[in-house]
Amino acid sequence: GKGSGFELALVTDLGTIDDKSFNQGSWEGLKKYATEHNKTYQYYQPSEATNAAYLEAIDLAVKGGAKVIVTPGFLFEVPVYMAQTRYPDVKFVLLDGEPHTEDYATYKTEANTLCILYAEEQAGFMAGYAAVKDGFTKLGFQGGMAVPAVIRYGYGFLQGAEAAAREMGLPEGSISVMYNYSGDFAATPENQARAAGWYQSGTEVIFACGGAVGNSVMAAAEASTGKYVIGVDVDQYAESNTVISSAMKMLGNSVYQALEAYYGNKWDGGKTWVLDVNNDGVGLAMDNARWRSFSKADYDALYKGIKDGTYKINNASDISIADLGLKYVTVTEVAD
């Protein structure tokens, strides 16, 4: 009810609630659950990007009557580590991270905290695989900032392309990938121009993996003919006709499930859920996909292959591209 506080809360990280990324995805899941089950809900923006400010926003949410607080993004690892003991009666859903101390010396997930990690490398893998299978040989990866989730998407993308090329019996080095992190999450002329440059020099499809950076890539794709974009996180097909498919992780679903568990007295605290192919936590958007030949059947096979371990995907994000040992894929890493 109004005035009596908000039972479900989300604290945003750096971005805003409609950042087309962590904040938005998880917010949509929270909203969906709340409206369906008639719960009050609210989000809180911290006043600055520090651990202390995140913690304050959590304080505020508690003050506002929150029973469950969703914190999207690894930036909340340290704040939640502190909050989970400070508020033992409040439940925390931490996405993309696990609580630890500032110096990484101690990791501890209390019983009132549920961590959810995503196998972005699997989604990225599917995107890369599908692109090559669909007949593209000149690919691009345009990340935002080089944070682990983005890196996992990127490395997965490269490995997927490699796997497809091998399967298709293409010669070594026949797939080329332009690879870059823009350094921001914004739509700018710079990001547009970089993508346009890639398209102009032959790149056919770019996996855009950095919030609004994707909008600049789409703008560039729209300004060229026969060029495509692979969206990220959610199905972005509606944002541009050039979006051929999207590598998704089910942020909303996972939040929804966590809340469902909480209200169904099946709170899974102290654990870490890894959302991957095994629990339909990641995937490739196929319903509105614009692939030319890559079919639903191909997708199902791919999905199964990942599930049963046919495809082994390295999920490290603190290694270099060379460590991936790619043969069929030549990566031009645009240094930053």
Binding site: G5, Q45, S47, T50, A53, M145, G183, D318
Partner: protein
């Protein structure tokens, strides 16, 4: 015609001197009023509650008060940086770059120089000061020797500074998992000086005291010393200053360097605050520098005014974050701040009104 003092024998209180604070207060009142109207438009039922949070959030508890002081610290410094330059007729729109370059200095020392022990934070702040100063030296030199408009060179050095800092962080103190700088050592954090006991639970630390001291220092420097006399004289009239034997090149450079040092210290104070702030490797200009412009302007470019202006902005920021409890978005605070700044611009009219009032009372010509 004699001077008024001789004629009337007593002094009419000079209201025009109070015009600055008075007009700032009026501006704040108008800004809050507009904020309230916006609350009414977006959700009449809870507008009053939201407004109460804006007004009361910052003094809700000792913790909140402590956080007000904490949030005020860096923007007081960037505000002071801009205000100091304004006083010498330079528009330092480059505080953003100097701030982040200063932060880099602090973080480098804070991460790498663990051998300094309990001096680490002092050296870190000194590094921030020097880094900020050096970054402002560039527009200073260009202005003094090549007559390059400082506004444009400051805009350029903002971007160069941002990229350079990201580059250096990436190649020296980078934490890849989080794409940001490594945490600084404990000894590099500014001591709390007991303030954490006074304001338990808040992020306040000795940095606030340092900022206040620097404001006082700036006030004295500008208004009480020969050096400040020279800096201001050059700002007002380069030619007359040369005629008076003041080196205008030196003055321009020194004014920029001091201004940059202040912004740099601001960076140091924030990144060594122990509140878990890191340099994100992100191509975004540090907003503190631009907030500094608002703070300086609201504070009438007066060092002490800047102190209060910074406190005010921090105060309504904390209140604005509480306003979320009533279901309002914190952007409303930005609208209020913008309105306050806008009406602060009408200070001149206020001052003239007050002055006219005073002179009217002042009496007739002999």
């Amino acid at each position: 015609m004699k001077t008024r003092k001789e004629k009337t024998g007593f002094r009419i209180p000079d209201l025009s001197r109070a015009a600055g604070p008075i007009s700032s207060i009026v501006a704040i009142a108008v800004g809050l009023m507009i904020g309230f109207i916006i609350l009414l438009i977006s959700n009449p039922a809870r507008a009053l509650e939201g407004f109460a949070w804006i007004i009361g959030g910052g003094i809700n508890s000792a913790k909140d008060l402590g956080n007000v002081l904490y949030y005020a610290t860096p923007i007081i410094m960037t505000g002071l940086s801009v205000a100091f330059a304004f006083r010498t007729s330079l528009f330092n729109i480059g505080a953003s770059g100097q701030f982040i370059v200063g932060a880099l200095g602090a973080v480098l020392v804070g991460v790498k120089c663990t051998f300094l022990g309990s001096f680490q934070w002092v050296v870190g702040l000194l590094a921030a000061m020097v880094f900020g100063a050096v970054w402002a030296l560039i527009p200073g030199l260009l202005k003094a020797y090549n007559n390059v408009n400082e506004v444009i060179s400051c805009i350029m050095t903002n971007y160069i500074g941002m990229y350079l800092v990201n580059w250096i962080v990436k190649s020296t103190v980078y934490h890849q998992l989080t794409n940001r700088s490594l945490p600084v050592a404990n000894e590099a954090n500014i001591p709390k000086l007991g303030l954490d006991k006074l304001f338990p639970g808040s992020s306040i630390n000795g940095g606030f005291i340092i900022a206040v001291l620097i404001c006082i220092f700036a006030y004295i420097l500008l208004n009480k010393t020969t050096f400040g006399f020279e800096l201001k004289a050059c700002g007002y009239n380069r030619f007359a200053s040369r005629y008076a034997g003041i080196s205008e090149k030196r003055s321009i450079i020194m004014a920029m360097v001091i201004s940059g040092a202040m912004a740099g210290i601001g960076g140091g104070l924030l990144y060594l605050a122990g509140s878990g702030k890191y340099i994100n490797v992100e191509d975004v200009l540090a907003p503190e520098g631009f907030t500094g412009i608002s703070v300086a302007l609201l504070g009438m470019s007066h060092p002490i005014g800047t102190l209060f202006a910074g406190l005010f902005i921090a105060y309504i920021t904390v209140g604005g974050s509480y306003m979320q409890l009533a279901g309002f978005v914190p952007e409303i605070i930005d609208i209020i701040t913008a309105t306050v700044i806008y009406f602060a611009a009408f200070a001149l009219i206020m001052r003239n009104l007050l002055q006219r009032f005073r002179l009217r009372k002042g009496g007739e010509r002999t």
